[in-house]
Symmetry: C2
Subunit: 213 residues, 2 copies
DNA sequence: TATCCATACGGAGACTATCTCCGTTTCTAT
DNA sequence: ATAGAAACGGAGATAGTCTCCGTATGGATA
């Protein structure tokens, strides 16, 4: 419960920055140890597998073992289960955000939006990673994922605004509504016509968001 | 697991015949004990609170304690965590299904559909019960909730078909798409304009499902 | 109403997973 | 080459899950 919030958030901040391409800070301290980085990476990979396979409460000690490290090492890198899930989640999210930029640059507005929404769905379908990850955040009032959500939100906002500007969508539209709907689709992978449903939904959303004639 | 099933059933058979001089009927079905029913009910209520408050992995022993029963009693009624979650979930679902019938009987088609979709969202918003419950099912390939999902599906199908018949919606529509979208909305209760977003989304879905002019 | 026994109860305790602490090892910088 | 900061591993304390079985209770029967 009362889990040293400031210490944790400090660590999170570190993680956030550490995944950036170049160091923006002067930081004066020394280069992070290579074995630490390697272990961190390895844990992330194994965790992704494990969460995909066993759901969001796969055994953390098992993940540590499969990564070839002790439990202590895992918990040093990711103090809580949520922290680990979040890290895995963030990696996926970054791929999606990158794709949004790419589509925006390469396609006409409405098409780009549609393509990205479908990609969003595909990512969830293929990896099944984001769904289990989102589970735990829904359960509690935790503030995780906010940064990641920001990225996704940014991605769809960019695409939607472009489509609004070109007159393909109504101007009084909140792109977040799209997101919510898509996540719903992704969370029900049970039925076999899953993909079809997702595509239909995307088209319904777009059709429902066209400017009034 | 393998708990002497034949011995038990053999014993029951013996009782059946030996104690049955005149009555040809069922000694088998006896009225369920009232204390058992009461306990079951109480556990359900407490569990609903607990899951809402602490997320889907609230301590089961705690729930038992707060219900005034021992852990054994809880586990007899609900052998697994999923079973308990499912029971709570099912209760909510039944309320929704009932409401669908009510709306269908009392309102014009499109209005009834819209009202129910909003109620669906409200239930999730107010109770936050269904969301945590859905989490665990998403994680694994478990077959829980299928019956409950059937009820919900039935509810929205009834309403949607009515709206299709009256010409308010396109005929090539899969109402399940609506469901998926709504669940997505319900799973992101974080933002403050939550309710607004949900209502907008409902209208987008309906607008996007109108017959082509 | 009294009696019987199937049904249900409680909770001690075995088992399993989570997470911490700290002595040891490894890597970077000088 | 060496110092010492950083990272490691894993034993073990803690906490949650679930079972077993002796005891209590309420419905059926007479």
């Amino acid at each position: 419960m009362d889990r040293l919030p400031e210490a944790v958030s400090g660590y999170k901040l570190f993680c956030l920055f550490s995944s950036m391409p170049t160091k923006p800070t002067k930081s004066a301290s020394r280069k992070p140890r290579t074995d630490a980085q390697r272990n961190r990476q390895r844990i992330l990979e194994v965790a992704k597998e494990a969460f995909t396979r066993d759901g969001a409460n796969a055994s953390l000690d098992d993940i540590a073992k499969q990564s070839g490290v002790g439990p202590g090492t895992l918990y040093r890198h990711f103090p809580t289960r949520d922290a680990l899930i979040e890290a895995v989640y963030r990696a996926e999210v970054e791929k999606l955000a990158a794709a949004a930029d790419h589509f925006a640059a390469a396609m006409p507005p409405l098409e780009a939006l549609r393509a990205w929404m479908l990609l969003f769905v595909d990512h969830m379908a293929a990896k099944l990673i984001i769904a289990p990850a989102l589970n735990t955040v829904v359960g509690g009032p935790s503030r995780l994922y906010e940064g990641a959500r920001g990225q996704i939100r940014g991605a769809i906002e960019t695409l939607a605004k472009r489509a609004i500007r070109s007159g393909d969508l109504r101007s009084n539209l909140d792109p977040n509504d799209f997101l919510r709907a898509l996540i719903g689709v992704a969370l029900i992978p049970a039925s076999p016509d899953w993909q079809q449903s997702a595509k239909r939904l995307v088209d319904i959303l777009i059709a429902g968001s066209r400017p009034a004639k």
